[in-house]
């Protein structure tokens, strides 16, 4: 993990820096070396961050179950605790007490390591997440690149699970997952490059600070849409949940997992979805930006949580209302539609960014207009394609009395 600790250049009014300085002073006063203090503080910070994120998952699962139930006109969990709040805790207890079965012929160590890798890969993302002004695990200048790099570690865990289970459904599920994740990484990265261009940096806090006046979702709505869709596919949430499609391959790569090993995958998926929401917030919705942050940085944290939760609601909403797509549709959608679109948006934004440099109303208007133009162009292209498809269908549907000239049309 990065050696540079929590940023020191925050204003003295910053509460988080004050806390940091206070703890550091305390430890040094206890007789510890300054360098060792840094390391200790880093470790403590990482543990706290990871634990909190893990604990949040319990809340997330409850929220999702409740919301899904509402969407499906049910009530959802309501027996354990107030509003069924402790339902997930009960489920977790059940899973922990169950035995973790390791199938015969499985690759034992890899089998056990796989869920850990998945969860670790997701939690690792939070290291560079700017939670509030000055509150960030590590403000490295290649934050987005780090997100991409670490985010793909989850793929590795899924491969490991699929390989080690010694089960053909697991292997097939793993293959599907890898194919899906690797393909959707392309539009994901292309979409992420656009805010990088607009902000002029890959550092996460710089990106947030760049959205002080205008959120990037207004500058690059298409990029936001592409990012949202492809990150849904990365996570494997509905409608891209064909990696664990019960009707086709039973449960996908985690078919052989039981007990808390399965629970880790389960938790990892929910955290991942929440992480994606947080990322969307940071990159396109201005992160902790909001009224009053200048004077009271602590409000920024609540803004961040609020925006992330709204995004998470959207994710659940999509899951509850969209049907699952087929694997060929998944691939075709990626390579034939969303990747070219991302390329076009990327190029247009790059050119515009070069032409209209100074921030302000002009910049927003120009970028919005360009996005609208691209949407219109895409719409007409799709209509033309649909028309040609329909014509071809009509030609082939014709009875056997085919004219020889008809073939040349």
């Amino acid at each position: 993990m990065p050696t540079s600790a929590i940023s020191f250049d925050s204003r003295m009014s910053d509460p988080f820096t004050t806390i940091d300085q206070f703890i550091k002073g305390l430890l040094i006063g206890l007789g510890l070396d300054a360098a060792v203090t840094d390391i200790v503080l880093n470790i403590v910070g990482a543990v706290v961050l990871g634990s909190v994120v893990g604990a949040v998952a319990i809340l997330l699962i409850w929220a999702e179950r409740k919301l899904l139930a509402r969407i499906q006109d049910r009530i959802g969990p309501n027996r354990v605790g107030p509003y069924g709040l402790l339902q997930t805790v009960a489920d977790a207890l059940k899973l922990i007490t169950k035995e973790v079965l390791i199938p015969k012929g499985a690759d034992r160590y890899v089998f056990i390591m796989a869920p850990m890798v998945v969860v670790a890969g997701v939690i690792g993302l939070w290291a560079v997440m700017p939670l509030a002004p000055g509150l960030i695990g590590s403000d490295i200048n290649v934050g987005l690149l780090y997100i991409i790099a670490i985010g793909a570690i989850g793929t590795l865990g899924i491969i490991m699970a699929g390989l080690s289970s010694n089960n053909k459904y697991a292997l097939l599920g793993a293959f599907r997952t890898v194919a899906q994740m690797l393909s959707y990484t392309v539009p994901l990265i292309l979409a992420l490059l656009i805010p990088v261009m607009l902000a002029g940096s890959m550092g996460m806090s710089t990106i947030v600070e760049a959205q002080g006046s205008v959120w990037f979702i207004f500058l690059a709505p298409l990029a936001a849409l592409i990012f949202f869709i492809s990150s849904m596919a990365e996570v494997g949430r509905a409608p891209f949940d064909l990696t664990e499609a019960e009707s086709e391959i039973v449960a996908g790569y985690h078919i052989e997992y039981s007990g808390m090993a399965f629970g880790m995958f389960f938790v990892g998926e929910f955290i991942h979805a929440y992480t994606i929401s947080a990322l969307f917030t940071v990159i396109f919705l201005g992160g902790w930006q909001g009224p009053g942050v200048e004077s009271f940085p602590l409000i920024g944290f609540f803004y961040f949580i609020l925006k992330t939760s709204v995004m998470y609601f959207v994710v659940i909403w999509v899951r509850g209302t969209f049907p699952r797509i087929r694997i060929d549709q998944m691939n075709a959608f990626n390579w034939k539609f969303i990747t070219p679109l991302a390329l076009v948006v990327f190029m247009v934004t790059a050119i515009l960014d070069k032409l209209v440099i100074e921030a302000g109303f002009n910049r927003t208007a120009v970028h919005l207009a360009a996005n609208a133009l691209i949407v219109l162009g895409t719409f007409f292209l799709l209509r033309a394609h649909a028309a040609s498809l329909r014509r071809r269908l009509e030609v082939t549907d014709r009875p056997q009395v085919q004219q020889p000239e008809a073939a040349s049309d």
Partner: protein, 170 residues
Amino acid sequence: MTVPQIIFLATAAVTLIAALMVVTVPRLVHAGLWLILALGGIAVLFILLENGFLAVVQVAIYIDAIAILIIIAVMLTRAVMSDTDPQINRMWLASALASLIIMAGLLVIVSQAPDASRGPLVDAEVGLDALGRALVDVDGFILPFEVASVLLVAALVGSIMVAMTPTRGD
């Protein structure tokens, strides 16, 4: 022993052991996983050398792309070579000898190098900005950068052509 030295030694040990496992374990899937570990160790060493950018790039390219590709290739070709077959050919002793000779030669050279025992420069950390500009600067490295991109496109097209399933007319 300072903290960086401890971190270096630990990482180096992990990396070397992982590398040795890569070339010796009979199960290729495990070799692939060990390879990931070794590459991750290299990434940590990159951070120790205070170039976070290259470390992240190392993870993104080697672990996310190359290693996963290798593991998939192993899975695709697993059927023909069972893990109980010998994975090392008959000349392994000669190979080891050759490798040792190379290593010995390199170590001899390292030991005679004048700057071998020096420490890192103080004014480190060339900014990411400078690197980015140098890569697209006409007076900088635009040629290697563009050549690399052309090479990647060529490799992409070439690998698709090579691995494409032959059509019926073929």
